[in-house]
């Protein structure tokens, strides 16, 4: 299941074709590798593997 703290937004002032992964807890766009954790790709799981989610789990609406 995708991290509830993840949204996709357009990168400001950058000619990027598609919206990009943004962490509403960290309040920043996330790196490509971290986006795989946010999206629980492969065997990743944000509740286990993301330190940002773990620190903000009480803000998340799973």
């Amino acid at each position: 299941m995708t991290c509830p703290l993840l949204v996709y937004r357009e990168l400001p002032n950058v000619d990027a074709a598609e919206p990009r992964a943004y962490c509403t807890a960290a309040e920043e766009f996330v790196q490509a590798m971290r986006a795989d954790i946010c999206n629980d790709r492969y065997a990743l799981e944000h509740g286990r593997d993301c330190e940002i989610y773990r620190a903000h789990a009480d803000e998340a609406d799973e």
């Binding site: 996709y8 990168l11 002032n13 950058v14 000619d15 990027a16 074709a17 598609e18 919206p19 990009r20 992964a21 920043e28 766009f29 996330v30 790196q31 490509a32 590798m33 971290r34 986006a35 795989d36 954790i37 790709r41 492969y42 065997a43 990743l44 286990r48 593997d49 993301c50 330190e51």
Partner: protein, 282 residues
């Protein structure tokens, strides 16, 4: 390789690591991500003096891709836009399952080179890129089958043991080509003493490429040049030109290291010279 190699006037091979798979345009808007952007960056880097381009693949939103199809699209675009540059596909991929890691090797034609991560490294607070010996062997065997020269990525000095281990398990063609990596976290701590120790500890007749992350890119490239090694620069490893100033392009970073090499008396290898030095088929 050693200071003697510097004195012997051997040309330096410059690798441009154009995009990577960790950070992207959120870190520096000039990081190329699409096949078109990567191909343009490769052409500019080649014109600036790079003879090898190290390639990762990304989805249209900048996220990681390991698929053969996406690598094919990028490789085709790079080949169409460049003259003679050597393509080196990454097989790195923290947390990606083993079956995806070989996908970048399966383009047609195969890349002339591919990276091979020699062991585990930590990412963020809770991830480890495992790179087990079994995976290293599997990727190596597929590279041999496809005529691809492996670039052995030594993220720390324990990984040099892994290079020696691979040499015991497999018969590698000479020269064994390593990349010595310096920086934070699991990487070798970026000190000149550690650089010298690693260079001194390399297998006989091994060649080395020097990679410093972030602010260590320029000083470690310079040490690599002085000690007869080769160098890797680019936005995958460092998004800044100097403190507080984002790099404008991969080519800007290549131009700077080419100027340093020439100032220090080493010529920069053309792709053809790099092929000869690395034992690649023309």
């Amino acid at each position: 390789m050693s200071y003697e190699d510097f004195l012997a006037d051997r040309p330096v091979i410059v690798t441009a690591a154009l995009t990577g798979g960790v950070h992207g345009k959120e870190a520096n808007p000039n990081v190329p991500e699409t096949p078109d952007e990567i191909a343009n960056a490769a052409a500019e880097a080649e014109a600036a003096g790079a003879s090898v381009v190290h390639l990762h693949a990304r989805e249209p939103n900048g996220e990681r891709s390991f698929s053969t199809a996406r690598f094919q699209e990028i490789a085709d675009a790079v080949r169409a836009r460049t003259d003679d540059v050597i393509l080196q596909h990454s097989t790195g991929g923290t947390a990606a399952p083993d079956e995806l890691r070989a996908q970048p090797l399966r383009t047609d034609p195969a890349p002339e080179m591919a990276s091979l991560d020699m062991g585990p490294l930590n990412r963020y607070d809770r991830l480890t890129s495992e790179n087990t010996r079994g995976l290293v062997d599997d990727l190596y065997d597929e590279m041999v089958e496809r005529g691809i020269k492996p670039e052995l990525e030594v993220f720390n000095n324990g990984h040099l043991n892994e290079v020696y281990g691979l040499l015991e398990r497999r018969e590698l063609d000479s020269p064994v080509y390593t990349t010595l990596i310096f920086g934070p976290g699991t990487l070798t701590r970026p000190t000149p003493q550690n650089f010298l120790t690693l260079v001194d500890d390399l297998p006989e007749d091994a060649a080395f490429n020097t990679l410093g992350f972030g602010r260590h890119q320029l000083p470690f490239a310079t040490m690599g040049i002085l000690f007869g090694g080769h160098v890797r620069v680019g936005l995958e490893d460092n998004v800044y030109y100097r403190r507080g100033q984002l790099a404008e392009s991969n080519a800007q970073l290549v131009e700077r290291v080419v100027a340093v090499a020439r100032k220090l008396g080493r010529e920069v290898a053309s792709p053809s010279q790099a092929r000869d030095m690395l034992g690649l088929d023309a």
